[in-house]
C-alpha cells in the first residue's frame, strides 16, 4: 500500500513537467499543421508525429536495433575498459606514494585534454573500425574515473584510518575495509559521469568518421543529414538522447543499492 502511494506520488510529481513537454511538442506539431514547417520551409524540423511514425518503421524494418547495439557495444566496451583501468590506477596511486608522485603528474597534464582531440591520431593508429571509437571512449572514461577515485582515496578521513590502525587492522584490511569503502561514493561519482561522457564521445566519434553502411547511431545521424533524410535523422537523435538518459537512469538505481549508507540519494549528487 505504502509502496503504491509512493509510486503514485512520483507519477503526480512528474505531471507538470510532462505537461510542458507535451505543450512544446504540440506547438511544434501545430507549426507544421499551420504550414510554417513544410517541404520548402524549415523542412528539417520534422513534426513529432512524423518522427514517431518513422521511429516505428525504423524499429520494425529499418534495423534500428543493429544501430543501437553497435553504439552500445562500442560505448560499453570502452566504458568498461576505461572505468576499470581508471578505478584500479586511481586506487593504486592513492595508496602507493611512489605511484602518486611519478604517474599522477603525467596524468594531471593530460587530464584536461578531450579524447576527441586525439581522434585524428587514433584514426591513424587504429583505423576506421570499432577499435578507434572504443579507445576514444576508454580514454575519456579513464580520466573521468581516475581523478575522482584518486582524490577520493586521498580525502579519506585520517581519523578513520588511525582508528582502524589502533584497532589492529593490517594493511590489507585497511585498504579493503576502510579506504575502499570510504572512496566508494567518489568512485560511483566518477562512474556516473563516465556514463554520460561515454555516450557523448561515442556519438561524436561515430558522427565524425563513418563508412556508409556502418552501423551506429552517430553515423546514422550524420549520413541521414547528408542524404537529407530528415525524419530518420531526427528519430535517431531522439533514440540517442533517450539511450543516454536510460543508461544513467539504470546506473542511478545500481548506485542507490551500492551506496545505501550514504544519506542523500544518489540523484542528489551532481
Amino acid at each position: 500500500m505504502r509502496a503504491k502511494s509512493i509510486y503514485l506520488h512520483n507519477v503526480i510529481r512528474k505531471l507538470p513537467s510532462a505537461a510542458i513537454l507535451i505543450a512544446f511538442l504540440g506547438f511544434w506539431e501545430w507549426l507544421a499543421h499551420v504550414g510554417f514547417i513544410s517541404q520548402q520551409l524549415w523542412s528539417f524540423l520534422v513534426p513529432p508525429s512524423v518522427i514517431v511514425a518513422r521511429l516505428f518503421t525504423l524499429f520494425i524494418e529499418g534495423g534500428m536495433i543493429f544501430h543501437i547495439s553497435a553504439t552500445l557495444y562500442r560505448g560499453l566496451i570502452g566504458f568498461l575498459i576505461g572505468v576499470s583501468v581508471g578505478v584500479v590506477l586511481g586506487l593504486m596511486s592513492g595508496w602507493f606514494r611512489a605511484l602518486d608522485e611519478i604517474v599522477m603528474p603525467i596524468f594531471e597534464f593530460f587530464r584536461p585534454l578531450p579524447a576527441l582531440a586525439l581522434f585524428p591520431l587514433l584514426l591513424l593508429l587504429f583505423g576506421f573500425g570499432d577499435l578507434t571509437k572504443i579507445v576514444a571512449v576508454a580514454l575519456q572514461c579513464f580520466f573521468a574515473t581516475l581523478i575522482p577515485t584518486f582524490y577520493g582515496v586521498k580525502s579519506v578521513d585520517k581519523l578513520l584510518v588511525d582508528s582502524a590502525r589502533i584497532l589492529g587492522a593490517r594493511r590489507r584490511e585497511l585498504f579493503f575495509d576502510v579506504i575502499l569503502r570510504a572512496a566508494t561514493p567518489h568512485i560511483c561519482n566518477g562512474i556516473r559521469i563516465s556514463i554520460g561522457v561515454a555516450m557523448i564521445v561515442v556519438t561524436a566519434a561515430e558522427m565524425l568518421i563513418y563508412i556508409v553502411g556502418q552501423y551506429g547511431l552517430g553515423s546514422l545521424i550524420s549520413w541521414t543529414e547528408v542524404s537529407r533524410d530528415y525524419p530518420t535523422m531526427l528519430s535517431s537523435i531522439v533514440v540517442v538522447m533517450l539511450l543516454g538518459f536510460f543508461l544513467v537512469w539504470i546506473w542511478l538505481r545500481v548506485e542507490n543499492r551500492i551506496l545505501f549508507w550514504v544519506r542523500e540519494t544518489a540523484a542528489e549528487r551532481v
Partner: protein, 263 residues
C-alpha cells in the same frame, strides 16, 4: 617576484617538473631512434620537432588566430550557459513550485548527449560560430542547472530556520544562505562542464569549420604534418588546463570555508 617564484616552485613541486621532463625525454629518445622501427614513430614525432612546429605556428600567428576563435566560441558558450544556468537552477531548486514544475524536466535532459543535436543545429544556425556556441551552451546548461538545482535544494534547513528566526526576509535568505550553500555544487558542475564543453567544441570544429583548434588538428592530420597536429593537441591541453586552473583558483577563493576537494 622572488617569493612568488619560490611559492610556485613549492606548489608545483620540482619533482613533478622533473617527471614531466623525463617523460618527454623518453619520448624524444624513442622517437629519434625510431625504437624497434615501429610505424607509430611516423605519427609520434619527437617533442623537439613538435616544439619547433609550435614556435613556427606561434610566430606565424596561426596559433593565435585559431586559439582565439576556439576560445571565443567556448568562453561565450560557457559563460552564457553559466549565466542562465546558475540563477535558473538556484530558483528552481529553492522554490517549491519551480522544483515541481521544472525538476523532472531537467532530470530528463541532463544525461542526454546533446552533441547528437549538432547536425540539426547546423541546419538551423549554419556552420558558423553560432551553432558551435549554441552546442557548447546546450551541453553545459543542463549540467550547470542541475548542479545549482541540487545545491539550492540541499541548503541546510536548520540554517534557513535560524536565519528566519533572526528576521531574514526572502531576499536576504536567498542572497546570504541559498547562494552560498549551493556554491560547492555549482563549482563541481562548472568543473565538469569545462571538460564536456571542450569535447563539444572540438567535435563541432572537426565536423565543420574553417578555423579553430579542433579544425587545425584535423587539418594537420589530413596533411600528414603530425608534429603540428601534436602541437595543437598540446595547445588544447594547456588551454583547457588553464581554464580549469582559473576555476579552481576562484573556487579556492570563494569557498575558503568549505573543505572542498580539488577534483
Amino acid at each position: 617576484m622572488l617569493p612568488f617564484i619560490r611559492k610556485m616552485l613549492l606548489r608545483y613541486k620540482v619533482a613533478t617538473l622533473l617527471i614531466m621532463f623525463a617523460f618527454f625525454l623518453v619520448w624524444e629518445v624513442l622517437a629519434q631512434t625510431r625504437f624497434l622501427n615501429l610505424y607509430i614513430w611516423y605519427f609520434f614525432r619527437p617533442p623537439s620537432t613538435i616544439l619547433s612546429e609550435l614556435i613556427y605556428e606561434a610566430v606565424s600567428l596561426k596559433l593565435l588566430y585559431n586559439a582565439l576563435f576556439s576560445l571565443y566560441r567556448i568562453s561565450l558558450g560557457f559563460v552564457v550557459a553559466a549565466l542562465i544556468g546558475v540563477p535558473f537552477g538556484l530558483v528552481v531548486g529553492w522554490s517549491r513550485l519551480g522544483n515541481e514544475v521544472f525538476g523532472p524536466l531537467i532530470d530528463l535532459f541532463r544525461p542526454m548527449p546533446h552533441i547528437a543535436l549538432y547536425p540539426l543545429l547546423v541546419l538551423i544556425l549554419g556552420l558558423g560560430d553560432q551553432s558551435k556556441i549554441f552546442l557548447v551552451t546546450l551541453q553545459c546548461f543542463f549540467i550547470i542547472t542541475i548542479g545549482a538545482m541540487y545545491g539550492g535544494r540541499s541548503v541546510d534547513r536548520l540554517l534557513v530556520n535560524q536565519l528566519k528566526v533572526m528576521g531574514a526576509g526572502d531576499k536576504e535568505l536567498f542572497l546570504d544562505a541559498v547562494i552560498w550553500g549551493a556554491m560547492p555544487f555549482i563549482f563541481s558542475a562548472l568543473r565538469l562542464s569545462i571538460a564536456v564543453s571542450w569535447i563539444a567544441l572540438v567535435t563541432s570544429e572537426m565536423i565543420g569549420a574553417t578555423e579553430g583548434i579542433g579544425w587545425s588538428i584535423l587539418f594537420y592530420e589530413k596533411s600528414s604534418s603530425f608534429a603540428a597536429m601534436f602541437a595543437y593537441i598540446f595547445v588544447i591541453s594547456i588551454l583547457a588546463g588553464l581554464m580549469l586552473q582559473i576555476l579552481l583558483f576562484a573556487e579556492r577563493r570563494l569557498l575558503r570555508w568549505h573543505r572542498a576537494l580539488a577534483i
